[in-house]
């Protein structure tokens, strides 16, 4: 079963990320059984039917805006943000916005080109689920990779995981 880092632990996860190929229109709805993340376009086409379905999440590609989900957040348990390449940093802003501006309390999952050297930044921006591509890490290497969540113990700036900057949370003397 695919592995996932959730709140700092490696767990099994069976959710499917539904990817439409060019021949599939979002209007045609053919969902697999069980937990699934559907593309934004599918969600938008079938909101009424899909709302409240157990285990349903929506995934956004890096060019898609979390603003488009703003009015739907109450009916979603999970949102996945895709990193097409790990150097595409738009999803960091997306996750931070979902947490801070929109107050989303459900799962925010990093998917796509997700690598351990970015785990720390992801966690800081509000991702609570981190899912490297299947096969990128062996079970042993993924367990190893948990260490990267602790790369820095006391970051300078405020972020989602630590809403106060260092200068407000520590008594620093000149």
């Amino acid at each position: 079963m695919p592995k996932l880092i959730k709140n700092g632990l490696v767990i099994d996860d069976s959710a499917e990320i539904l990817v439409l190929d060019e021949t599939q229109a979002p209007e045609a709805l053919n969902l697999p059984e069980g937990p699934v993340f559907v593309p934004l376009a599918v969600w938008q086409a079938h909101k009424g039917v899909l709302s409240g379905r157990p285990g349903l999440g929506v995934w956004l590609d890096s060019h898609e805006s979390v603003d488009d989900l703003a009015s739907d957040l109450d009916s979603l348990q999970a949102i996945a943000l895709n990193f097409p390449k790990f150097t595409d940093g738009r999803a960091y802003s997306g996750a931070a916005l979902l947490r801070s501006r929109y107050g989303f309390k459900g799962e925010i999952r990093a998917i796509g080109d997700v690598l351990r050297d970015q785990f720390f930044f992801m966690q800081r921006c509000g991702f609570d689920a981190i899912q490297p591509k299947a096969g990128r890490y062996s079970d042993a290497l993924l367990a190893d990779a948990l260490a990267s969540l602790q790369d820095f113990s006391s970051p300078y700036q405020a972020a989602i995981d630590q809403p106060e900057p260092l200068f407000r949370r520590a008594a620093r003397v000149a």
């Binding site: 790990f86 150097t87 595409d88 940093g89 930044f121 921006c125 972020a159 900057p165 260092l166």
Partner: protein, 560 residues
């Protein structure tokens, strides 16, 4: 200067451990080349023509003598006995082995230094006025603000993978000495009518392939809000900056595409949410940081030291150096000294381990143990007593650090170019040295007067050629190296982008081309007019005729 507390030290120590592990995993094959590249770049590590190149951060150009000795030790131990000062006031080592880089970082961390974010698509080292705190025209010391911004930008989790690199500069004096108009964000410290400190914010400036002068996005952001304001700018850029084309990915392209009014609207809309949030600066934090930048204990001295006056009268070589390389200090009896790294026998901006050690000794003996780097690739001793200048000069001269050409044609900015840099289209150091040799006669050089000549080996413009009074750009034409010349660029308060004068030249032609340009200036100048003023008054045509002959103009008129 700023000294680390336990938090700063821990972050740098943790970085060393992180990069050591990343390097280990790369060498063990756990990280691919593509995965490792952005990681090493965000740690200033390039793979160059001969070896990796390591760029070490010098935040806003400030160094202690102890740090300089460590840099000397690294140059001696892990490099070939020299280092290079960059146009972002940083240090570069050209020959370290990849596997020893973690050791070098550990050595740097012991003296409160690092290589964090000296490259990569992130917020880079913040640059500033090399004369901060000592210049007579300063209204607000930029250094505490630079440090506050350094801490905020270090490992900022949201902005580690921007569309492209992001450069910031801060200036707090009447004269802009930090090139703020050519930065992604340029900050000018100012006071409002009530005397409160804040920032005029420029955005979207930059050199590179598409040189653009930054536009004002806000005429006054109160100091409490500068971090949240910058975060709003960065967030809009991170979300909407282009990522499809490397050459169109800088914020300047986004600002141009939207127009400054629309970009400002988006930033202010974003700012509403961050403003007054936890990143709002506190008086306590600013006071804590500012306490590191108090003035040293100056003694009361007469304004004009009599021995200094007498030594200049008795020694023309000392007088020449004092005239060019010694600048006024705001405190009577003190002076600012530029230690030149423009010895024509060396690459501009290069410095040997022995010179670094000597500079550290001079700083300890004569300048409160501090030394600065400039974006024009020199060193500065900011607090020297006038009565010590002769001793400083004698020692600096013996070490090759007293070339008396500060601000003159031979004090050129020059990138490492094709000799070292894998990005370069052409060599730049030999061009610089050939021009320096042509203009080695000091009387001739002094007669030409203030002139900024900037050389870049490629469009990335590390040598700031766009803003040189004379700019030289290395270009590749069918596999051979050519040089394009522009005139009329300028940094500072009247920043302008130079215009190309015509077809490019072979390397061997360059000293003659520069001579012809100088001849036109000397023939045309009026009164005490500086080179740039003459160019602005008479335009490019007389220079084109001087360089290409009448044919250039006739051809243009025919084509018109």
């Amino acid at each position: 200067m700023y000294r680390y507390d336990s938090y700063d030290q821990k972050i740098v120590d943790e970085r060393v451990a992180q990069f050591r592990d990343q390097t280990r995993r790369y060498l063990a094959g756990e990280l691919t080349e593509d995965e490792f590249r952005p990681l090493r770049l965000q740690n200033g590590l390039y793979i160059q023509r001969h070896a990796p190149m390591l760029r070490v951060a010098v935040p806003y150009g400030l160094l202690s003598s102890r740090q300089v000795r460590t840099l000397a030790h690294i140059a001696r131990t892990h490099d070939k006995g020299y280092a290079h000062i960059t146009t972002r006031q940083n240090f570069q080592f050209n020959w370290p082995e990849l596997k020893v880089v973690p050791e070098i970082l550990a050595e740097l961390a012991q003296v409160e230094m690092h290589a964090i974010q000296t490259s990569g698509a992130c917020i880079r080292n913040i640059t500033s006025d090399p004369f901060a705190g000592v210049a007579g025209d300063e209204y607000i010391d930029p250094r505490p603000w630079c440090e506050v911004l350094r801490q905020w930008s270090t490992f900022h989790p949201e902005f580690a993978f921007l569309p492209r690199k992001f450069k910031m500069a801060v200036n707090g004096a009447h004269q802009d000495r930090a090139v703020i108009q050519c930065h992604d964000i340029g900050l000018e410290l100012k006071r409002d009518a009530a005397g409160e400190i804040g920032f005029r914010v420029l955005v979207g400036g930059g050199l590179g392939r598409t040189p653009i002068i930054g536009e004002e996005i806000s005429d006054f952001v109160p100091w409490q809000h500068i971090i949240t304001y910058c975060e709003a700018v960065l967030r809009v850029y991170n979300r909407y900056g282009r990522r499809d084309n490397l050459y169109k990915a800088r914020i300047k392209i986004l600002v141009k595409a939207l127009g400054i009014a629309e970009f400002k609207r988006q930033v202010e809309e974003e700012w509403v949410f961050g403003k007054n949030g936890p990143n709002t600066l506190t008086e306590a934090e600013v006071a804590r940081v500012a306490a590191h930048f108090t003035a040293p204990t100056y003694v009361q001295l007469p304004g004009d030291d009599s021995s200094y006056v007498a030594q200049r009268a008795a020694n023309p070589a000392f007088a020449a150096w004092a005239k060019r390389n010694v600048l006024a200090h705001k405190v009577p009896g003190y002076a600012v000294v530029v230690l030149s790294l423009k010895d024509p026998k060396r690459a501009p901006g290069d410095i040997t381990d022995a010179q670094l050690d000597l500079a550290a000794d001079l700083a300890d003996a004569y300048s409160f143990g501090e030394i600065r780097t400039t974006h024009e690739q020199n060193l500065v001793l900011a607090d020297v007593r006038q009565s010590d200048l002769f001793a400083v000069w004698e020692k600096a001269r013996a070490a090759g650090l007293a070339t008396p050409t500060f601000g003159l044609l031979n004090d050129m900015i020059c990138c490492p170019g094709g000799d070292f840099c894998a990005l370069a289209n052409a060599k730049s150091i030999p061009i610089a040295n050939a021009i320096q040799e042509r203009f080695e006669d000091l009387d001739y050089l002094y007669d030409i007067g203030d002139l900024e000549l900037n050389i870049s080996g490629c469009m990335n413009s590390c040598g700031h050629h766009h803003v040189g009074h004379i700019g030289i750009l290395g270009v590749d034409k069918n596999g051979s190296e050519w040089y394009q010349v522009s005139l009329g660029g300028s940094q500072g308060n009247n920043t302008s982008i130079g215009k190309v004068i015509g077809r490019s030249f072979a390397a061997a032609e360059m000293p003659d081309v520069i001579t012809k340009i100088i001849d036109v200036y000397r023939a045309q100048r009026q009164g005490g007019e500086r080179f740039i003023e003459t160019v602005r008054r008479i335009g490019l045509d007389p220079f084109k005729i001087g360089v290409y002959g009448d044919a250039a103009i006739i051809e243009r008129n025919q084509n018109a």
